[in-house]
């Protein structure tokens, strides 16, 4: 078999080179891949459960000065560990709220939009209510974890994380 046209590679005369997929092979492929996905996600869930983070206990830290954040202003802080960015928002002179800055969808940082009074995740257009962190729109399913605040003298303290 000397020179063969290019299309012959897809339809070879030689049996070994024939790449036809039978119905049985295709069914096998479907069954094995779906089993693979099932075991993979199951394994990930078990791993996550085994390595779940213990609640940080009651870490109480000062996060800002009382008059540091103006009305409509935002301050980013880290609580309860240095790996957990949070945002502190002053909605009114006497109304302060704080939430985890990690979007509950795919962990993008969320931002406060003062004119709409909503917290927005720009990655997939997720919106959270600024009053209580509940989901208003977009792909997130769980509300933003809320940071319980306390005002002690001239300082604002973070008391604990409340999962929504």
């Amino acid at each position: 078999m000397e020179s063969q046209p290019k299309w012959r590679e897809d339809f070879p005369i030689n049996w070994e080179e024939d790449q036809a997929i039978t119905r049985r092979e295709f069914t096998k492929f479907l069954a094995f891949t779906s089993c693979g996905f099932f075991l993979g996600t199951g394994g990930t869930a078990v791993w996550e459960w085994a390595h779940r983070r213990e609640p940080a206990g009651t870490v109480v830290v000062p996060i800002a000065q009382r008059d540091e954040v103006p009305v409509g202003g935002v301050k980013v802080f880290r609580y309860p560990t240095a790996n957990d960015p949070c945002i502190l928002i002053r909605l009114a002179p006497a109304q302060l709220v704080a939430y985890s800055q990690t979007c509950t969808h795919l962990s993008c940082p969320v931002h406060y939009e003062a004119e709409r009074r909503q917290i927005r995740c720009p990655c997939h257009e997720g919106y959270f209510a600024v009053e209580d962190g509940r989901v208003l729109a977009g792909p997130p399913r769980r509300p933003l974890p809320r940071i319980v605040l306390s005002i002690r003298g001239a300082e604002i303290w973070a008391m604990e994380v409340k999962q929504g």
Binding site: M1, F11, I13, N14, W15, E16, D18
Partner: protein, 190 residues
């Protein structure tokens, strides 16, 4: 030891044993893949068994538009894959030896596959096991060279088409290749 299929039409006695043996095979359900042809029926009782010559570059597979005819690495050209064959008869027309047959009942081509179910596990093809005159012989080349005057060749010439085959044809010792000029046969019959 490498086993080869040898055909010697001059030894054929027309007993039909090969045809019957072939039809007994379960892989093609009673359909014989051998054609026992009369060479010139009006003038002679001479017959010749026609099995697939298993061309090195099989024209039947080359012309198949449905990709249904495959050649194994041993060089055996298989019968049409029944999930692919569309019964177009391209192979029937293309084969210079006239081996593939269109079976209208099942709308499929069927042809001799040198009993690949048997030969792949070291058995002889059905026809070669029953041929009483060894017109169909399956065995080592040394054996047949020792026992016959004829020599095996595997080059057939059909006009401009030169076909090299896996199956060997026993011919007179001085012949290198068999040159079939179809036009001569047509002229003779006129």
């Amino acid at each position: 030891m490498e086993m080869t299929f040898f055909i010697d039409p001059s030894r054929c006695i027309g007993c039909q044993a090969c045809v019957q043996a072939c039809a007994e095979c379960d892989t093609h359900r009673g359909q014989s893949m051998i054609h026992l042809e009369y060479v010139d029926r009006a003038a002679s009782p001479q017959t010749a068994p026609v099995v697939c010559m298993h061309c090195e570059d099989p024209p039947c597979a080359r012309v198949c538009p449905a990709d249904a005819i495959k050649q194994t690495k041993e060089g055996i050209v298989q019968s049409a894959d029944r999930t692919r064959c569309i019964g177009c008869l391209n192979c029937v027309l293309a084969c210079p030896v006239g081996v593939p047959r269109y079976i209208a009942r099942i709308d499929q081509m069927m042809k001799c596959d040198m009993c690949s179910d048997r030969t792949s596990i070291g058995k002889k093809p059905m026809c070669a096991t029953v041929c009483p005159s060894e017109a169909l012989f399956y065995g080592p080349r040394e054996e047949i060279e020792k026992r016959r005057r004829e020599r095996p060749i595997n080059t057939l010439i059909f006009g401009r088409q030169v076909v090299k085959t896996k199956v060997q044809l026993m011919v007179a010792p001085h012949i290198e290749a068999l040159d079939f000029d179809v036009a001569i046969f047509i002229h003779q019959h006129k």
